[in-house]
Structure formats: C-alpha cells, structure tokens
Symmetry: C2
Subunit: 362 residues, 2 copies
C-alpha cells in the first residue's frame, strides 16, 4: 500500500531523514503492516527499530506486546500522547497485548512529584484520557511502577550494566533522579517478557529513542535472563503552530494541549502559520502551499481521519479554490468536535477505571 497522501511526498524532510541516518533507524515501510492507521499511511510514523519481527508477529498471529508509559507530572497531555495511543490501538487491533504503566516512581525521582499526587492524577485524568483516545481496555494491563516489585527488581539489576559515561553519552543529563528514571524505564520495557518471552514494540516520539537504545544495549549485556530486544516505532512531532519543529508548552501561544478550552484552541489555530500567499489574488492564481501550512498539518495529523477528505482539502488548497480563512474554519469546527468528544470520553472513562486490569503485587 502506498502513502496515498503525503504532502512531503515519498521523501522525508531533511531533518527526519538525518535522524534515521544518524541514529541507525529503519525507515518505516507502510507495506509491511496490514491495515495501516492514519499516522502510518501519512508518513507521520516514519521510522523504527526491528520492525520486521513485529510485522511477522502480526502476519503469523504470534504473541507480541506493545507498551507505553504515563508520566503523571500534570493534568494535561499533548498531541504526541494521542499519536502514541493511536499506535497502541493499532497494535491491539492486530494481536498485541498492551501494557500501560504509570511512571510514578520516575515522576518522583526526576520531577519531585509525590507518589500520592502521581497516583491521583493518573486515575483521575491520564488513564481516562488514554481510554478516551481509543485505548482498548480489554486488551490492556495497567500498573503503577511503585506497585510493581518486578519492575523495580529489574531496574536495580540493570543499573550495574551501564556506566555513568555511557549514560551521559545517551542522555546528556546524568542527574541521580534521571538515572533512576531511565533504568526503571528499561525495567518497564522488558517487564512483559517476564510473563512471557516475546517481542514487544514501543511506540514513541522520536525524542524517546534513547530509552529504546539503552534498553537494547542492556538486553545485549544481560546474560542471566534472555530478553528480546524491544522494537521501536517512531512518529514525527506535531509541529508548533508557528511552524517550528515541535509543539511545546514552552510556547503556549502555538501549542494546544489536551484538553484545552475550545475557544482558546480555536484562537491559536486562527493565528497559525499557513501556506497562504501574500494576497488573496495571488493565492487564487497560484494556489496555497499546504506543505508549509500548520493548519494543514493539524488536518493531516489529527483532525481528518478520512484520506479522501484530506486529499480533497489538499487539492483545493493547491488549486487556489480553498482559501486560508475557510480552511481554518474547517479546522476550528473539527477541533471543537474533537475537544468535546475527548472531554465526554474522559468523563465516561472515569467510571470504568475501577474495572480495569491493574497489576498488584503481594
């Protein structure tokens, strides 16, 4: 299956192509995965590590797992989390058992969040939000790091397998809290293999690759237990609405968080960098440049599920028949529906939290 719509074409923009080269990643091949999701079809999922073993598990219906963590540092998430949940759901729909952990020990060690506060946030917001974004609870095991003795035991065992200098080379920062956080994350990533040794895939934003690399190195150095090296699946950033690489809370005017007041989100969308021309006349004549447009990027990454509909907007923009104002109105209306559905979904999911499958350790 080809990427039917990708304004970037078959080629990756230079930055992401460079990432693949610099870090020795594999390019994501959409044809290797049956029924690819929107992010896969549109080149937003762009790279991975050891993807073949996962596509083989899917095709041969062999057991594998998908894992992700919730960092309960505040009561908002971002579009990157949404991408992760969508990819988890994809793998759940294709045979994976999912593990969602609350990184409460990490939040304590690296950010100073108390375990009580982390637990409260996860139960009241993060887990319901993940369910609202489409996580399948019937195929998901949840746990808190602080309640998972086996993860902690793995973390302590792995600490001996990496030096401070290696750690610094991977992460830059090597503060004690960060170190404990990182080895605990390695424990998380491999923990599902204690239950059953099998491949696993970790869908993350590309900035999280260091954890995957560290885990793979530690697997190679661990002789007493045999683990599969985890596979990684990397999605591009949702760009900042001002056109810079990554949407970030450090630039609140160009960042929409989840959930966000609809009016506020719409206001930001209306101020977004577009691919519009200097004047309406020129745009009608030459067409817009969706490749450079952050509104189109929101359509593509998050707001429009149907490929046909997205293609339509792309064509109309290029031909000069859809102008920026109207296109922004479409985005605003879709954003409104999304935020409303999301908040309703959270409310509904809150009532299900008690019934979820939490790991407890005696």
């Amino acid at each position: 299956m080809a990427k039917i719509i990708d304004p970037y074409g078959a080629e990756l923009p230079e930055d992401y192509a460079k990432v693949i080269k610099d870090f020795g990643l594999e390019e994501f091949k959409v044809d290797d995965f049956p029924e690819p999701n929107r992010l896969m079809r549109r080149g937003i999922v762009f790279a991975g590590r050891d993807l073949k073993i996962i596509s083989k598990c899917i095709k041969e219906k062999k057991p594998f797992y998908v894992l992700s963590g919730i960092m309960p540092t505040n009561d908002k998430i971002h579009f990157g989390n949404k991408q992760v949940v969508e990819n988890i759901r994809y793998f759940q729909d294709h045979g994976a058992k999912a593990y969602i952990l609350v990184a409460d020990l990490e939040a304590a060690a690296a950010r100073g969040v108390s375990l009580e506060e982390g637990k409260r946030r996860a139960l009241e917001f993060h887990i319901p939000a993940y369910l609202a974004l489409g996580l399948d609870p019937k195929k998901t095991v949840f746990y808190f790091q602080s309640e998972n003795k086996e993860v902690v035991h793995l973390a302590y065992g792995f600490a001996k397998k990496i030096t401070l200098n290696e750690f610094r080379a991977i992460y830059g920062n090597a503060d004690p809290g960060r170190i404990m956080s990182a080895v605990t994350q390695v424990g998380d990533i491999l923990y599902p293999q204690l239950e059953e040794r099998r491949p696993g895939i970790i869908p993350v934003g590309i900035d999280q690759d260091p954890h995957i690399r560290l885990t793979r190195d530690i697997v190679d150095r661990t002789k007493d237990k045999k683990f599969f090296r985890p596979s990684g699946l990397y999605h591009k950033y949702t760009p900042s609405l001002d056109g810079s690489l990554k949407m970030s809370k450090s630039k609140p005017e160009s960042c929409i968080v989840l959930p966000e007041d609809v009016k506020s989100a719409q206001k930001k969308l209306k101020r977004a960098l577009t691919g519009g021309r200097e004047t309406v006349e020129i745009q009608k004549k030459m067409g817009g440049e969706p490749e450079k447009c952050m509104v189109f990027e929101m359509h593509k990454q998050h707001l429009i599920e149907d490929d046909k509909e997205l293609q339509d907007i792309y064509k109309k923009c290029k031909s000069g028949t859809l102008l920026c104002g109207e296109c922004k109105d479409i985005a605003c209306s879709k954003m409104e529906r999304f935020m409303q559905d999301f908040e309703k979904g959270i409310e509904k999911a809150r009532k299900q939290v008690d019934k979820l499958n939490f790991v407890k350790f005696a």
Copy 2:
C-alpha cells in the same frame, strides 16, 4: 567513667584525630553513655554525629532506633561487622529497637549479585552470623530491601534531592549502580521513622560516614516529610596484622575473616607485627611496645573482654615479663575459642531464622 585502658592514652592517634577535624565529627565521650561496652571503653568507638540526642534517649528512656545493613556479596564477614553488631547490641540493651536490613537491591545494583543469591546468602550465613555475634533477635526487625516497598519509595523520592556533582563530591565514584545503592541506603536509614518519628543511630566503620552525611543532607532538604537527622557512631578499623591501617581481604596474609579455619587464623596471628624488641634480652630489660603491637590490638579489640585481664597483659608486656611468643599463644588460644563459638553459634542460629521478625509488604 574514664577509659581505664587505652594504650593510645587519652589522645587519638593523629590519623583519627585528623578524621574528626576534617569531617566535622564529634569526639565520642564515653562518660555520656551508661555501661559503655568494650569498644567504647577502649577508645575503639572514637567519634560520632549528634550523639547527645541518643545519650539523652537512653538516659530518659525515650524511643530511638539503631540500624545496620548486611551486604550479601559473599559468605564471609570481617571484624568490622563484629564491631557493628556489638554496638547494635549495646543500644538494644539500652532501649533501642534494632533494624537489620539485607541490602540485596544494593548488592544487585552495585555488585551484580542476583536477588536470589543475595537472599540465600543472607538467610544461610549473614543473619545467623549476626545472631551468633550477639544481636538480640527479640528486639530486631529484619527486612530485605527488595521486599520493602516503602524503602524503595523513599529511595526514588530522595534521588531528586541530590545532584550528580554532590554525589561525586561525597563518593568519588558516581556509577549508576552506586547512585541507586546510595539513595536506597538513605531510604533504609530513614525508613524506621515512617513507623515512628524518633532519633536513630547508625553504628559504622568510619569509612561509611559518607552515607550518614548524605542522609543528613537529604533530611535537611526534605520538606514534605519531617525526619530526625540520623546520628552516627564510628569505630576505628581493626588494623591489618602487618600494621597497616585496615584489615583487608586484599592482603589475605594479614587478614582474618569470619569464619576462618582456626589453623589458618593462628598462623596469621603468629606472623603478626608485634611491639617486640630486637632481642629477647633487650625486651626483658626494656619491655615490649604494646602500642605498636597487632597482637595486642587483637586482644584489645576482639579477644579479651575483661578489662583487668587486658590491663594485666599490657603491664606484663611493658615490664618485659610477657614475651611475644607466649602472648601470641594466648591470642591463638583465644582465637580458637572465638572461632569455635562463632561457628557453633551460626549453626544454632540457622535454626532460629524462620522465627525472626521479617517485614513483608503486601
């Protein structure tokens, strides 16, 4: 109460006096502690931190605790461990609740010892050895770090309160396993205060002071929970039989481990550095120099409980009536009894291990 026998006199040798000055310790004042034990009376316990609060607890019969850890890295201990147990017993006899932890997470993180192996060693050897050396099991709570969720939670919370540079300044080495080990130790030291907030004393060899300092710094920085800063009690090293500062397995010919084959231990004692003169004639005339004698040091630190008996040997040596051969024979005979009692004690204690008070966490 005065130190009735201390060949070093009232003054500390230069090295230990320097330690007190350099690290801002308090000199141990034997008069502050009722019924001081042999190590206290003889100046082997020589320094501490915040000792007054502990002597006050003893005198006013207020609750306090004493804590020490077992590092299950192999199946031998050393005379330093014996000193620690003797000091724990002193505090148990004077109102303290004792906590003995098996540092199995630390052994994993810093030394690569598996939890299973650590547990086996602790149950088969270390805990029975501590009981054989006089630990009072009725006043002791035991736990494995790996089974103590609260200690682990404290450790992760404390990681945020120290920087890598501070860590390096305290420890020199800042490998990931060492860092995790150190913050876990801080968790251990403060854990008894979760049960009841009260002062605690940690008896250690002087080389372990960094842990006490780190813990005290972390207490000062911890605002959400109120802890007492732990008090420290420091004993001198048992010197190497060749006269150097510390008995160490790196010089096996001058180091007696516990337990050790009696013949082997006696052979080492016979080769020990003494305070004997060049010839028997000179020694008979001038007397020996027990201040420089490692055999006398073993008598003083470990082999002779009775002060009168030790004083007698000291006087006879100084007057030239007790020569080195005979004195070594006395030491060898006492060493034989000690090792036999120790091994018998271990065997007996093994049968009690099931009945000990182990903390388990659900």
